[in-house]
Structures are given as structure tokens and as C-alpha cells.
Amino acid sequence: MGSLTGTLSLAAQALEADQGALQVTSNNIANANTPGYSRQVAVFESAPTVTEGDLTFGQGVTLAQVQGIRDNVVELGVQQGLAQQGQVNSYLSSMNQVQSLFNETQGAGLQTPLSNFFEAFQNLSTDPTNTSLRQAVISAGQTLASAFNQAASGLSQVQSGLNTAIPQAVGQINQLTGQIAQLNGEVQSAQNSGANPSQLIDQRNNLIEQLSGLVGVNNITQSDGTVTLTTSNGALLVAGQQSYNLVTGTGPSGNTDVFSQQGTDITTNLTGGSLGGYIQARDGSNGVVAAEQSLDQLAYSVGNAVNSQQEAGYDGNGNLATNEPFFNLPANGSTGTASMISVALTDPSQIAASSAPPPATGDNGNALALANIENQPLPGLGGQSAINYYSNFVANVGTEVAQATNEQTAQDLVVQQLQNQKASISGVSLDEESANLIQYQTAYSASARVVNVINQIAQTALTLGQGS
């Protein structure tokens, strides 16, 4: 048999639940523009029933929990999307710098100095004893050497920029993993004490998204509410309340490498985020280091071919030019050629234009042979001539940038889509919250009306039997 006081307390409980729901709603409205905020919903449950004799009575409502609405799969998608976006962004910005060094369409690059150098020999062949034509060959050689030097120094600037950017990114990563580990602890203790961890999880997801922009992570949510984060190649970043700092140091190639806390070099295969982009731009198959090697190879092959042809001829004084190389080249191998190549000849008469001993001072055989190096396949350039090799190099750089640009456009769209999907699940809709507001307000008014009615009935009951 139900009682008036029972009903009264039921109504009071309903008022309390509605107030709670109103608070959840107004919190949602307040956070409508908070980045990463997931909307929360009040979850009502009917209170346990009471059975008296044959009758079972409902005991009203309780506000069982406040639940944050999020989809972990979409969230993981967003994180991965951001990691790829971060990588392609930083890769592209480095490759754009490389591209501008060789932007032949705007007159930058090596084609003009390379052509001019060989044309100078061609020109010399028309009048091999002419001192000013000989001088022009030396000048063209100096221009070519300094064009190689400049291109090499441009590339090495990009490279050292990347070597500086890597420790900066790692510093930010360490800061974020520290904060994430701390939030792991807070989420865990909120969950243990039955509190609502939704906003802590939002904060943590926010930080993981920032982290993903810096480096790709694998994210595993544990049953205790904490997340375990590892890099794409398995180095541990966060486990429970513990974060593991990455460190940077000089790697075997003299570049700045990334090491796990245990000291393992994890640079190779580290993908995702700006850090992944920096590493790809530096060490990737079409990155800065590869470009430096191609340039070195070109300078070395051209330099060697010119030197051996020069040394086979007779100079302006009628001497065999065996000990008069045209270019200074590194003693062992091509490494560093582009940055150090310079003209060894100082006197125009040292150019070996003649292929015959004196008195054939006017012979032009060797000058022609030197000029023809331009279009000959050279050893070390994969059977290509210098110009064709360079043209392929230029086209490769362009292709790489074009591909990265397309990838960037695509990745921007993917991230946009995923973030919209996330917003559509977790974002605050003011229309929806307004509807909830009306709904809970009405329910609150109704429960208040119930209290009023019980009050009137109680008055009636108290005055029951009193005659009027």
C-alpha cells in the first residue's frame, strides 16, 4: 500500500534527477565551443521497485550516471589521420625548399651553368689558341663549380634545419606524454571512485590528438581506463601513469637521430606526425640526403670525365696536361663533391685544347672531346648524360612534391571527414540541448506539481473528520 510520504519523497527524488539533468544540459551548452569536448547525457533509471503483498510499486527515478558520448573507433581514426596529415605537411614543406633550389622554370638550378661550361669548350674549339676563349672556359668552370657549391649548401641548410627541428618535436612529444600519463592517473582514480571521467578523457584525447600531429602513435585503451601509447615502430611512450621520454642524439650518419628511453635508435621506420615528416624528408628515398648524393654523383662524374679528358690533351704551352686536372675533386669517392668542387686551373694556357703535340698548338681535338662530354653517357650516372641525369633529378623532385601535395589535399579531406564524423557523434547541438532543456524543465514542473498535490492531500488528510 503506497504512502503519502513515500510519494512525496519519490517526487523529491524526481526533482533532484531533473535538476541533475538540467545541470548536464547547461554544462553541454556552456562547452558548445570547447575543443574536444564530448557532449554528456543524463542517464535516468527507474528506482528499484517495492512489493507489498500482491502489489509492486515503482519507486520513481534516479539519475544513474552522466555519460560522455564518444566513439573510440572514430577517435582512433582522427588520431591516425592527424598523424598522416602532420607527416605530409612537414615533409612537403621541406621538399618545397628542395624544389625551389632547382626550380629551372624560374631560372634556378644547374642546367644553365652546365650548358655554358660545355659551350665554352665548344666555342674554344673554333679558335683554340685564343686566350680570351680559354679564359671564358675557366670562368664557366668556376660558375659551374659555384653553382654546385650553392646547390649543395642549400640542401645542407635544409638538412640542418631538419636536424634542428627533430629535437624540438621530441621535446614537445615528451611534454605531451608526461601530461597524458598524468591524466591516465586521474581518469583511473575517477573511474575507481565512480566519478564521471568524461571531461578528463576529453582532455586526454585532445592531448593524444596533439601528440599524433607530432608522431604517429598506437593507442590501446586498458580496462582500468588508462591508455597505452607506443610509437609506430613499437617504442613505449605512455603506460599507465608512467611516461617514457624519447631522446635525441647524433646517429651513425652524423644526423640527429631519435632514441627510445632505453637508448635504442628508433629513427628508421618512425612514421607519422611532423617528426615522421622530418625524418622522411631527410632520410627518405627522395629526401634531402638522397638529393645530396645525386648532386655529388653528378658533380663527381662530370668532374672526373672533364679531368681525364683534360689530362689526355696538350695544353697551350705544348705540354701533355697529365698533372693539370681541370677540377679539384675529393680523393676518395663522390661524397661531398658538390660542396667542395672547384676549378684547379689558374692560367688559361693550362687548358688542354689540343690533342696533338707541338707544333700543333692550334689543334682543337681535345677541346671538341671536352665539349662532347656534355651529351655522352657518363660512368656513375647510370648510362645517362649529365643533362639527362640532371633533368631526371629535377623531374623526380617535382614528382615528389606533386605527389606530396596531392596527398596533403587528400589527407586534409580525410581529417576533415573524420572530425566531422566525430563532431556529429560527440559535438554539442544547441537545438538538441534546447529541446532537452524544455523536456527537463517540463518534467521538473510536473514533479513540483506532484509535490503540490501531495501537500494538498496531506492537508486534507490532517483535517479529515473535522466538521466545517
Binding site: 626550380n103 679558335d127 692550334g362 623532385v397
Partner: protein, 297 residues
């Protein structure tokens, strides 16, 4: 599907950025006149641009080489022209002497005339162009003919590249033109014949004069024959020069096709992308400010 305002705003922003990027690209193409402003705009065209630029540089150099070579060949050719008239004159002097009935002093005068002709021809054989002896083979720095007509040049001749796979030889060695002597160290045949003619005229050796005149005549014929190769080369250079100008035009046309923007197309694209941008901006202004919250009382 739930739609939340943040989606609308971020979509709007992203689209605006894409539209602005399109406008920028079109403005860049319209203002530079090029559709390839960066290697990445068209990597294949950029690669071809490099190769064709190098080809144009080659063509320019070949044209330049031709003009230099033409200067040298023209000098040699006009020297040989003078040699031809000198030798023709020597033949007629010889013929006059062979006519008989001439006094000793007249014969002496005719003999001296032949000596002068010989000196003239030797002088012509030592012609220079820009400091180089044009009939010295490749030993261009030393005077090829002594006063008696002994050749000290060599028999090699430079070739110059005047086109892709095209070479032109820079004239002929003096000994080819004036006839190498049977014994080294003697004057070239032309000069031997002239000396012989002169001495036979002076000594009135009538029986030898016919042979002498025939010898000088054969030298003259040889010079005329050799001179024609200069004419051939000059003609080859002329036509090669025309080919090169044509080739350069073709290459430039090719480059234009490679990287030039189609201005009409770009103008249309630009006005389209501007319209799109304006529409997007207008849409941004129209994003509804309406919300159920406005109706709560």
C-alpha cells in the same frame, strides 16, 4: 544524422581555403603566363624543359661557331682567290716569254715579274685570321711558309662541330693547296714551279718554258680545285645555319607548349574560381544564426 554547428563552420573554412587556393593558382598562371611555375606543377614538363634548354644552348653555340668559322673560311677563300689571279698572271707572263722575239732585258723584266708573283703568293699563303695562320694546318702560331716557299706547318686540319653530329673542317693545310714537295725541306711544288719558270725566262731557256708553263698551270688548277672545297664548306655552313635557326624555333615552340599557360583557359578558370569563392563567402554570411534556443521563453 546529427548535425552540429562546428561541422558547418569547419566545412565552410576548408572550402573557402580550397577556393582561395584555386584563385591564387589561376592568378599566378595569368600573371606569369606559365602553367608550370614550380617543378611540381608538371614534373615531366620541368624535366623536358631542362633538356630542351640545354639543346637550345647547344644550337646557340653551334650558330656562334658557324659565324666564327665563316670568318676564317672567308678570309682563306679570298686569299685563294688572289692566289688564282696571281697564278693566272704567271701563266700569261710565261706564255708571253715563250712567244719569242724578246730582248734580254724584256725577259729579265718578265722573270722579275714572276718572282714578284711568287712573293705575292707566299704572302697570301701566310694569311692570318685573328692572329692565326689559316694555311698552317693546326700549327697556327708559326708562319707556315718561308721566303722561298718551304712549308713548316702540318697536314692536320681542325674540324668544328656545327650541329648535332655535324662537323665542318676548317679549311685545308697549305701543302695540300700548294702541293707537297717530293723531298722534305724543299719548297712546295707551286713555288718550285714559279722559281723554275722565273729562272728559265731569265735564261731564255725556250725549250723548258712549255713544261714550266704547264706545271704552273697544273698548280693553278689544283688551287682552283682545292678552293672549291672552301666554297662547299661555306655553303654547308650557310644551310646548317638556316637549319639551326629553324631548330631553335622548333625548340622554343616546344618549350612554349610545355610550360605556357593557355591564357584564354586561365582567364575562364580565374573568373570561375572567383565566382565560386564569392559564392562560398556569401554562403558563410548566410550560415543560419537560428537555433531553438532563440525560442525558449
Amino acid at each position: 544524422m546529427r548535425v552540429v554547428p562546428s561541422e558547418m563552420y569547419s566545412d565552410l573554412l576548408a572550402n573557402l581555403q580550397v577556393d582561395r587556393q584555386n584563385v591564387n593558382q589561376d592568378v599566378l598562371e595569368a600573371s606569369s603566363g606559365k602553367s608550370v611555375n614550380n617543378l611540381s606543377d608538371n614534373p615531366v614538363a620541368a624535366g623536358q624543359w631542362v633538356v630542351s634548354n640545354a639543346q637550345i644552348a647547344d644550337v646557340d653555340q653551334f650558330s656562334y661557331s658557324i659565324s666564327t668559322v665563316q670568318g676564317s673560311l672567308n678570309t682563306a677563300d679570298s686569299a685563294l682567290n688572289s692566289v688564282v689571279s696571281s697564278l693566272t698572271q704567271a701563266v700569261s707572263v710565261g706564255t708571253e716569254a715563250a712567244g719569242g722575239a724578246l730582248s734580254t732585258s724584256e725577259l729579265q723584266a718578265l722573270g722579275q715579274q714572276v718572282d714578284q708573283i711568287q712573293q705575292q703568293v707566299i704572302g697570301l699563303a701566310n694569311t692570318t685570321y685573328q692572329g692565326n695562320y689559316v694555311f698552317a694546318g693546326t700549327a697556327v702560331s708559326t708562319q707556315p711558309y718561308s721566303a722561298t716557299g718551304v712549308y713548316s706547318g702540318n697536314t692536320s686540319v681542325n674540324s668544328v662541330q656545327v650541329g648535332e653530329g655535324q662537323t665542318a673542317s676548317l679549311g685545308l693545310a697549305g701543302s695540300t693547296i700548294f702541293g707537297a714537295p717530293a723531298t722534305a725541306g724543299q719548297p712546295d711544288l707551286t713555288f718550285q714551279y714559279l722559281s723554275q719558270l722565273s729562272s728559265d725566262i731569265k735564261s731564255n731557256n725556250q725549250s723548258a718554258l712549255a713544261t714550266d708553263i704547264a706545271n704552273v698551270q697544273s698548280s693553278l688548277n689544283n688551287v682552283i680545285a682545292q678552293r672549291s672545297s672552301y666554297g662547299d664548306t661555306l655553303q654547308q655552313l650557310n644551310s646548317e645555319g638556316t637549319n639551326l635557326s629553324q631548330e631553335k624555333l622548333t625548340l622554343q615552340q616546344y618549350q612554349t607548349n610545355l610550360v605556357s599557360a593557355d591564357i584564354a583557359q586561365v582567364a575562364t578558370d580565374l573568373s570561375q574560381s572567383q565566382t565560386t569563392l564569392q559564392a562560398a563567402i556569401a554562403a558563410a554570411g548566410q550560415v543560419t544564426q537560428e537555433s531553438l534556443i532563440n525560442y525558449l521563453k
